[in-house]
């Protein structure tokens, strides 16, 4: 087993190969057509093979030339921030902006060691939420529920829009 000398090249190459394989696999039933009449599969399948080729080159290069190590991936911060965005999307239709925004801000703030949890931060959060409701929902008319579907019949409809 040859030694990986350039970690970044190796993983990037592997990622290309995997993605190329995915594009080729899911595109396997698309009609290729002929060059004169390109089918829906012609361009993506060709590109898929090219991407796979770059992946192989990158992997070979990673075994033959020295490169930088990746130096660790911030899995925790990556998960926290991704989770915060997902939480926003899950909560928004059900509970509304008034809960989704604090959830987004609260969860994402865990991604920084320097976050402070004090009165100033709470006030900033309240101000941001109020700003977003006033500007985006009331001002620009983005149809985000202020109170979501779970509050149907509980709060007056004018509070929901």
């Amino acid at each position: 087993m040859p030694k990986i000398r350039a970690e970044k090249d190796f993983w990037a190459g592997l990622l290309y190969v995997v993605l190329a394989a995915a594009f080729l696999w899911f595109g396997r039933d698309y009609k290729m057509g002929t060059a004169a009449r390109m089918g829906p599969g012609y361009f993506p399948i060709t590109l898929g093979w090219i991407l796979g080729g770059f992946g192989v080159v990158s992997i070979i290069r990673s075994l033959t030339t020295d490169g930088e190590p990746i130096g660790g991936i911030a899995w925790k911060k990556l998960s926290i921030l991704t989770l915060s965005v997902i939480a926003f999307a899950v909560i928004l239709p059900k509970l509304g902006l008034i809960f989704a925004l604090p959830a987004l801000v609260g969860i994402s703030s865990l991604g920084s060691e320097q976050s402070e949890y004090n009165l100033k931060a709470v006030l900033a959060l309240v101000a941001l939420t109020a700003f977003c409701i006033l500007v985006f929902v009331k001002g620009l008319g983005v149809p985000m529920p202020i109170f979501g579907a779970w509050f149907d019949g509980v709060v007056p409809p004018s509070w929901q829009r």
Partner: protein, 500 residues
């Protein structure tokens, strides 16, 4: 003269109260967000793009352009005051600008940067007005084969002139092209890579990709290297450069503008390379060589003129050919498509008032920057001192709401989260998101042009090399690629981006 008629038309369009107001708003918002460290023009534009959908096309583009050069200018302010360049093009400005600030000459550095940028902006507005029409004329004669080859050349040039690994830039382009194909095939109506999801039938929104990779992905990367920054800024005073400053800045400004205009018009050239090049040039020709890196005013004037010129000139390929030279132009093209305008050489004829209005508005916007920003410097300084821990949750909030508002769909928010992860992972592997976005925008267009070219030639791929213009462009692309693969050239290329 036709030029004056055109400029007059542009003046009329851009001077309507609504357009003036939005130009002002764009410049102001752009600067405000640009001074915040860690947010470049591309992220800024992606974030504010949804707000422009309801506007008429001219107004939307004028505002977006304002955001662009506003953000560029704001980035320089941060580079000078706290040595935190928001993006690559202001990296060089930080070298001498920050030294000047430390010597208590921050005001003079900022004013020099503003004046040099304004000068470059004025020259480039004129250059665009002069050169865009003939270029568009030529481009109107292009057939699908020429377009396809032009896009190949544009993509290749954009990676050769940028920094980073060629192999990975190519890989990211191909991946971008593939992602751009997701959705309904315009020709056959077949669903491609939609996995039966109706949300994907219209393809992936480019704003989602841009916000995910430049917004969320960037934040994660920034948080990883979070440090307690020292943002104590001395009070900025003495805004007006001295006579001596003026005398020393004139030459560098002129040379920077010239170099920036030239490099900016090349696809992929843009602001960053121009700034690096201009700094290197001044260091060679300046009589004050010894002062460089220790607060030489030439080291501020030249790269600032160059990066503004480069940024402005990158509008030329976008406006005349419909080809983006950098991610910001890709976003502008996306904005045009959303507004129902097909980017390309016909824009100048069919949308004359939009075309010329946008060009004239660039000059007006540059003037606004000059008038507006120096007096407001106190406010920008206060914005810079906002700690990142307060900023990034707000950025995520605006990204999430912005993406949701595209189609009022939470699906898009999930998709943005996914692209955030992809952006971060690729960034860790030294694969830059910019080429992916360029490929993403061009993917469907390239497929369509290739399809038409091959249809006309009855399937003969030689059509790409037998038509002279197309062949020339492909030859250029091939030469560029070969050059980069030569060891000696690639060494020079590395050095061009590591100016110390």
């Amino acid at each position: 003269m036709e030029l004056f008629d055109n400029l007059w038309l542009g003046l009329q369009t851009s001077m309507t109260p609504v357009n003036l107001l939005y130009a002002l708003m764009g410049v102001f918002l752009g600067t405000a967000i640009g001074v915040l460290p860690g947010l470049g023009p591309a992220a800024t534009i992606a974030m504010l793009l949804p707000a422009t959908f309801a506007m008429p096309p001219v107004t939307a583009l004028i505002m977006l352009a304002g955001i662009f050069y506003g953000a560029q200018y704001g980035g320089s302010t941060t580079a000078i005051l706290v040595n935190l360049p928001g993006e690559t093009s202001s990296v060089v400005t930080a070298l001498d600008g920050y030294q000047m600030a430390r010597q208590g000459k921050a005001g003079r550095a900022l004013a020099t940067a503003a004046l040099a940028s304004f000068f470059a902006g004025t020259v480039c507005t004129l250059l665009i007005a002069l050169f865009a029409p003939p270029l568009a004329e030529v481009a109107l004669k292009f057939g699908p084969a020429e377009y396809f080859s032009l896009m190949v050349l544009g993509l290749i040039a954009s990676i050769v002139l940028a920094h980073g690994s060629i192999l990975h830039a190519l890989g990211m382009i191909i991946l971008g092209l593939l992602l751009g194909l997701v959705g309904t095939d315009v020709n056959s109506g077949a669903q491609r890579y939609t996995f039966g999801l109706p949300e994907l039938a219209d393809g992936i929104g480019f704003v989602i990709v841009a916000m995910g990779m430049f917004g969320i992905g960037e934040i994660i990367a920034n948080l990883e290297h979070e440090s307690t920054r020292d943002v104590s800024i001395k009070k900025v005073e003495g805004l007006w450069p001295t006579k001596e400053d003026f005398r020393r800045s004139i030459g560098p400004t002129l040379r920077g503008t010239a170099l920036g205009s030239f490099l900016g018009i090349l696809p992929g050239g843009g602001a960053a390379l121009a700034a690096f090049g201009a700094y290197a040039l001044e260091k060679k020709v300046s009589p004050n060589k010894a002062q460089f890196g220790k607060g030489a005013i030439e080291g501020v004037a030249a790269p600032e003129a160059a990066n503004n010129a480069g940024a402005q000139m990158s509008f030329i390929p976008m406006l005349t050919l419909g080809i983006p030279a950098n991610p910001v132009m890709a976003l502008m093209i996306g904005a045009m498509i959303i507004q129902g305008i097909q980017p390309g050489p016909s824009v100048m004829k069919e949308q004359a008032s939009l075309f010329w209005g946008l060009i004239v508005s660039m000059w007006i916007g540059n003037m606004m920057l000059l008038v507006l920003n120096l007096p407001l410097i106190g406010m920008w300084v206060r914005m810079i001192t906002i700690p990142y821990r307060y900023l990034f949750p707000a950025i995520i909030v605006f990204c999430a709401i912005g993406v949701f508002s595209l189609n009022n769909a939470t699906f898009d928010v999930y998709l943005m989260a996914l692209f955030g992860v992809i952006g971060y992972v690729f960034k860790k592997l030294d694969c830059e998101p910019a080429p992916l976005l360029l490929g993403f925008i061009l993917g469907p267009m390239m497929e369509e042009f290739l399809r038409r070219a091959l249809l006309l030639s009855k399937g003969d791929p030689m059509v790409l090399v037998t038509r002279p213009i197309s062949a020339t462009m492909l030859a250029f692309a091939a030469i560029l690629l070969t050059l980069v693969l030569l060891p000696s050239f690639s060494k020079t290329r590395e050095e061009a981006f590591t100016e110390e």
